[in-house]
């Protein structure tokens, strides 16, 4: 018995806090997962290099390979104008992120309550749903001319388009989230003497939350997509604008740098939404854990 405790070291008592973090980190390091991830990325980078610079296959010569990209991206005097040391790079990133934050915030602030009310009240759904379902299929870029006519300046249309796309996704998911709640929870709440407002607070909102967060992860992706598309058409700063501007000026390296940056930022923002969701819905995470997921 003593030998077993000795080998387990400081794990006589259940690990908490930082100890737990170290334990989990250690477990992760000895498993194959992180190494597979690294190997995957390495393989992709290698294939990219082979196509663009190694073997210079066909039209891939027109694209900058990883060597050309990293030469510019990480140098203090980039040949084609954008690197992590140039202020311009961060200006573009900052502007795009600012727009996304605003658009996503607005879309969520409008979409979640509307979706919840639509799910909860038959009347509201009957009034609003047909309108939303007819507007939703219109591609975001089809709204560009209308948004330029409607809203002054550059920022207005860009943010409007990102908000719109995100709004539809969020609203629909919130509404479906309410639909997904089992009728028995409503009955149980009714039995226990809840008012309509109690039911909204204690059943509708928490019950729809998993769906809402799934929707939010999709919606932030959609917001980015619409934002970049909008920036390409009518912007003066931002990562989307950078891509188009680079293409117009025949410098391909900033174009690819901007794309990769978008990838990272997009991943990060989705991860933020996911983490927020997991924090708010500890019950859901634990339930899934019980099922072995």
């Amino acid at each position: 018995m003593n030998q077993v405790s000795a080998t387990k070291g400081h794990m006589n008592s259940k690990p908490e806090g930082f100890e737990l973090f170290l334990l989990r980190l250690r477990k992760k390091m000895v498993s194959i997962d992180p190494y597979l991830t690294v190997a995957g990325i390495g393989l992709w980078l290698f294939a990219y290099w082979v196509l663009c610079e190694g073997l210079e296959i066909w039209r891939f010569t027109k694209l900058p390979g990883p060597v050309a990209i990293s030469k510019d991206w990480f140098s203090t005097t980039p040949f084609q104008g954008i690197s992590i040391f140039t202020q311009e790079y961060y200006d573009h990133i900052f502007v795009s992120c600012q727009r996304i934050l605003f658009a996503f915030g607005l879309a969520t602030g409008l979409g979640v309550p509307l979706g919840l009310f639509m799910g909860w009240s038959r009347k509201i759904r009957d009034y609003v749903f047909p309108i939303i379902e007819t507007l939703r299929p219109i591609p975001i870029l089809a709204w560009v001319p209308l948004s330029i006519l409607l809203l002054p300046g550059f920022e207005g249309p860009v943010i409007f388009l990102a908000t719109l796309a995100s709004f539809f996704v969020t609203t629909l998911n919130a509404m479906l989230g309410v639909d997904s709640i089992d009728e028995e929870y409503f009955r149980a709440a009714g039995c226990l003497g809840s008012s309509r407002w109690d039911i909204f607070r204690h059943v509708v909102v928490p019950g729809a939350l998993p769906f809402i967060f799934t929707g939010l992860q999709i919606s932030i992706g959609v917001a980015w997509f619409s934002l970049v598309a909008a920036e390409m058409v009518s912007g003066d700063l931002g990562l989307g604008y950078l891509i188009v501007d680079a293409y117009m000026n025949n410098v391909t390296v900033p174009m690819v740098i901007a794309m990769i940056t978008l990838g990272f930022i997009g991943y990060f923002s989705s991860a933020c939404v996911r983490t927020l969701g997991n924090t708010l819905m500890a019950w859901h995470v634990k339930e899934l854990a019980q099922q072995g997921r």
Partner: protein, 282 residues
Amino acid sequence: MAGKSHKREQTGALSIKNVTKIYDPSGVNVKAVDDCSMEIAAGEVCMIVGPSGCGKTTLLNAIAGFHSITEGSIHLDGDLLCGPGKPKAEQSAERMVVFQHGALFPWKTLQENVAYGPTVQSAMSAGEAMEKAGQMLAEAGLGQFIKKYPGEVSSGMARRAEIVRALINDPKVLLLDEPYRAMDALTKQIMHESLLETYDRTGVTIFFITHDLEEAIFLGDKVHVVTTRPCQLKKTVEVRIPRPRSFETQSSEEFRTLLEEVNEAVHEEAVKAFQAGEREMA
């Protein structure tokens, strides 16, 4: 019937008179309940037994106020719950339901779940409710799990917690819709003993739907056998086994005789239901 609660006089007498319920799903009239009458005395454990899909849940739903009735009336302690002019009863904490698949709110801990009723009814402050909830859960043997979510505990514990959630509201009638249906036999035994112990302590009227005949006789004072759809009262068997009961009761002579009696009545209905190709409503 032993061990009545000293805090409440006998309440919870249900009177179901000539209740008929006709559904109209997809424009085809479905008569779920037809002229069903039964009397449930206050403080009695009343078991409803019948084949699946015969309309027993409809009866429970009518008492709880989830569905309306087409004809007839239901009274609780002489007050009209639903009847002519008032087809649907109001949902109320007087008639608490424990659901078949369990309806503890997954987003609240067990303690928060149990405290929910008194808090929203403003019967107690939130703090008091949480304390009482913790107490009652501990009495039910769940003291260690009060801060856990329903997704983290076993179904047996969740079901017990749900019963505590119902009882904290001091209901007149406890309506149970096949609550132990999805459990293995061993968990069921524990559940039965727990329920009997609770009943001996509180004396609440229990309206229990089941298709498990042994469960019905073991727990009940009266077993009402109902016919296949449309639901009507076919036979009432009185269970005179004295309380408190233990699982040894199940091997007694009296128990076996009663089981035979009930079985005969139910079997006939089960065969009819099977032949009619009833789609299980559960």
